[in-house]
Symmetry: C2
DNA sequence: ACGTCCTATTTGTCTAGGACAAAACAAGTA
DNA sequence: TACTTGTTTTGTCCTAGACAAATAGGACGT
């Protein structure tokens, strides 16, 4: 059925591996080995594309491509867990309930999931809902995705439905005009925004004025936006998959584009892998975010 | 102030012009001409990045790079309008009201905009709100963005706020289990989703079962999702800026990955620029979408 | 004047291999 | 254990050439 082949551009789109990397791997490791069309251009079979996506997934987990490619096909379930073991240590009471929510997603039952979450939101209130339900649930989904028991589209479904819940909840909050003006966005190439939404929910609860600009803002535009909105804080999010190499340079450039009195906060699991920097405040947990907000308020009378 | 320089990767991220294109333009047209760092790598000044983004904007409008680069700097306001003239012919009565909404965005007054839109939604009902407010407003924003009177971040703000409104409205609709199961998403590289949300709103009103998967689904994953959800229809959206060259091949590949009895619909302003194809049904307006839905229902008893 | 076919130019993407720096690892030492 | 140093791995960037798809311009016929 899958007789279709993929051009190198299509593979780049679908796997997130750059053309350069694909060619380099072919040169160095002898994989992937696409066939060629009449023009001598690479044609990747669907099978190799799948393997590449799998490799990419494990790489985002911290594995190295050389090893992964060497491993024939037993890697599938074998290399699954590694970093994710130490996390989720306690919360055993809630664990089961969260598992149920996850099951609903795995059954692709959007309606039931939404209803269950709505119920939870009503019961816990927004703050605890974010901290005790959405955050751990997202971590669980991440773990499941990493070890392959979640398909990509299932993760997308989870993300989309949960985003809607959070946005809806945020919309119902009264707009408290006190506190700092926070501009929330992400840099180009970074499309994940769930974490930013969680932060927005918490900040909005605290009465901060949140300005959500969606994802993928060019750096210079972030600068302009900060100026136009007179933002006190620019909050960025970097996901696990974002190339860590690029982050420090990115923050440095951004720092130069921003007004001096505008704070720059960078959060998300992507920033845990980079070293300290003076260009931005690194925020790794939701509690960190709340602490940072409180600290900011302390400093600005 | 802007002494920062951009690596070629940063420019690619910020402008959407590929590294290949940037190097090729330098070779052919002599622009941009970045300086080099100690390693002989390109360093683009912020000024050139801005010009590049401007050129990209005009290219998405249909202009050609050769001409644009030749034009010194008078191009700015001059080449602004071209394709967008014939649209928005009548609706002069509403025109002013829409203009007011636009003004709120330009003043960066998120709260007032949301309130005004909520009011409009309550007055018009969701269907007319989508067709008579959101759709023309989005077109207006597009026009304003194209001719440069909207900043990128203003367009982002509009998009984000409007997405929230639509999602919120959709969430309040009762889930009617009749009608086809429609899977809504976009291919990788395509991040715009507003049009898809409008369609979702209209379809949900018609009682169709909509499954929103967010943006940027790898092709093979779309196939899996369609199978898992037993989707009757896969609806994709392509924006103006999406490289038209890639669309036919994309649809062809997708067609091969999808079950034969799953319909493939492609919409958005991106598809107006491509020729007919047997791989997918092309949908260029919201009315088209509703017609297509009615037709589907007619064919499936 | 309008549409159609054909040719020429424009433009993007692909290919090849070489070079190098940053990150990750390994090993040796305090 | 904690640091420093050297080695391997890995990604990105470079140049320069080739080609095909899209577009524009012109000739032709209606």
């Amino acid at each position: 059925m899958n007789t279709a082949t993929f051009s190198i551009a299509a593979v780049e789109r679908d796997t997130g591996l750059s053309k350069d990397v694909l060619r380099m791997w072919e040169r160095r490791y002898g994989f992937p080995v696409p066939s060629r069309d009449n023009n001598g251009e690479r044609c990747y079979p669907a099978e190799q594309v799948d393997r590449l996506r799998q490799i990419k997934r494990l790489m985002d987990l911290g594995h190295r491509p050389g090893k992964l490619i060497a491993t024939p096909e037993a890697e599938l379930g074998a290399l699954t867990s590694r970093r994710s073991k130490p996390v989720t240590p306690d919360i055993s009471a809630d664990e089961d309930e969260l598992g149920e929510l996850l099951t609903l997603i795995k059954q692709h039952d959007a309606a039931a999931y939404q209803q269950a979450m709505q119920q939870r939101l009503a019961r816990q209130g927004l703050q605890r809902f974010v901290q005790d339900t959405v955050a751990p649930l997202t971590r669980l989904v991440g773990d499941n995705w990493e070890n392959g028991s979640f398909e990509v589209f299932e993760e997308h479904l989870y993300t989309e439905l949960t985003k809607r819940l959070l946005r809806q909840a945020i919309a119902t909050l009264p707009g408290g005009p006190r506190g700092p003006r926070v501009l929330l966005t992400s840099v180009p190439e970074e499309q994940h925004i769930l974490g930013l939404l969680m932060v927005e929910a918490l900040f909005a609860l605290e009465g901060a004025e949140c300005i959500p600009l969606g994802t993928q803002m060019p750096l210079l535009e972030i600068g302009r936006a900060a100026q136009a909105h007179q933002a006190d804080i620019v909050a960025l999010s970097f996901s696990q998959a974002f190339p860590p190499r690029q982050i420090p340079g990115l923050l440095q450039q951004l720092r130069q584009v921003l007004p001096a009195n505008t704070a720059l906060w960078a959060g998300g699991s992507g920033v845990t892998r980079i070293g300290k920097t003076s260009d931005a405040e690194l925020i790794t947990t939701l509690d960190d975010a709340l602490r940072a907000l409180a600290a900011w308020r302390g400093q600005h009378t």
